[in-house]
Amino acid sequence: MSSVKSLPLTSTDQEALQSAVIEVCEHAYFVFVEPCDAPQFAALVEEVRAEKGRGPSGRWLNASVAFHGASTGQVEVVLPERLGTWLVVSLLGLPADATLKDHQLLDGVGEFANMVCGAWLSKANETASFTLEMPKVTRMPAGWAPGSTPQGDEQAYRTVVVNEMPLEVRAR
């Protein structure tokens, strides 16, 4: 699914996407989210890149959730693996140094994207009903990093800072 039908890009959608991330992070993970602009995001991406070689922390995860109903599209969340681990550990109330099995990490990050997608759809279109598909989580190749800018086909795009780490979210 590469395009959203019948929902034009609006500033309301952009705000709704950011509100969705904030709501999920604050309600489920008890962590504050700060918006960040492209230069700030790029600097944080560089910090993640600098972590490469120290375990898996330099790798990125892409979690996407497709939806259909009143409109069709998908929400994608891109985040460093270290942030994904931290989110899952926080959600489950595990010790900060807990080690996750790979399936736990991918399932937890998928659920994060699922919640962001659901929250965004509720905010962007309160009356319509949507069906969300199962989240798909991909570990990006070593050396890959997000470009800090929208790719041009998004309905909404936001970059934020969560626990001092970058997170990019886009809706298409």
């Binding site: 709501e23 309600h27 959600l91 109330g93 699922n114 919640m115 659901g118 069906t131 598909e133 199962m134």
Partner: protein, 139 residues
């Protein structure tokens, strides 16, 4: 709390069934249910509606917390099946889902769902639901 302790002392332990395809969400709900100041008997888990039905067939359950979007059998299909079975009429039904649309909520109401909780949810919400069950049980 003392009042709770005395109220819960005579209560039959609650058996709870958590239905969600995400192991993370099941683990979270398991933890939250366990934190409630109530006598919890057993907490069962199922990754979809079909597996949940197997648990319902073989165990005494007082409360079901279910997601909506799941593979194999989704939460609404599970609730429809539950509604068709007289012996399950007293089980408390709670939906916990990212889908908070009005349509889905109306559908849930028709299926005797007591509470519709949108993800992300605060853990206290689940605890409060269990306390409601306790209150009904006591009075």
């Amino acid at each position: 709390m003392q009042t709770n302790s005395s109220e819960t002392a005579g209560m039959t332990p609650l058996n709870v069934l958590i239905v969600d395809d995400s192991a993370t969400m099941r683990a979270l709900l398991y933890r939250v249910v366990g934190l409630a100041d109530l006598p919890i008997g057993a907490i069962y888990q199922a990754p979809n509606g079909a597996e949940a039905l197997k648990v319902l067939e073989t165990h005494s359950i007082q409360a079901v917390f279910t997601d909506v979007n799941m593979p194999v059998m989704n939460g609404m299909e599970l609730l429809r099946e539950m509604a068709s079975r007289h012996e399950w009429k007293d089980i408390l039904r709670v939906i916990i889902s990212t889908d908070g649309s009005r349509l889905r909520r109306e559908e849930a109401r028709e299926l005797n769902v007591s509470l519709y909780v949108e993800k992300p949810f605060r853990p206290e919400v689940v605890r409060d639901v269990l306390c409601q069950i306790a209150a009904v049980d006591v009075h």
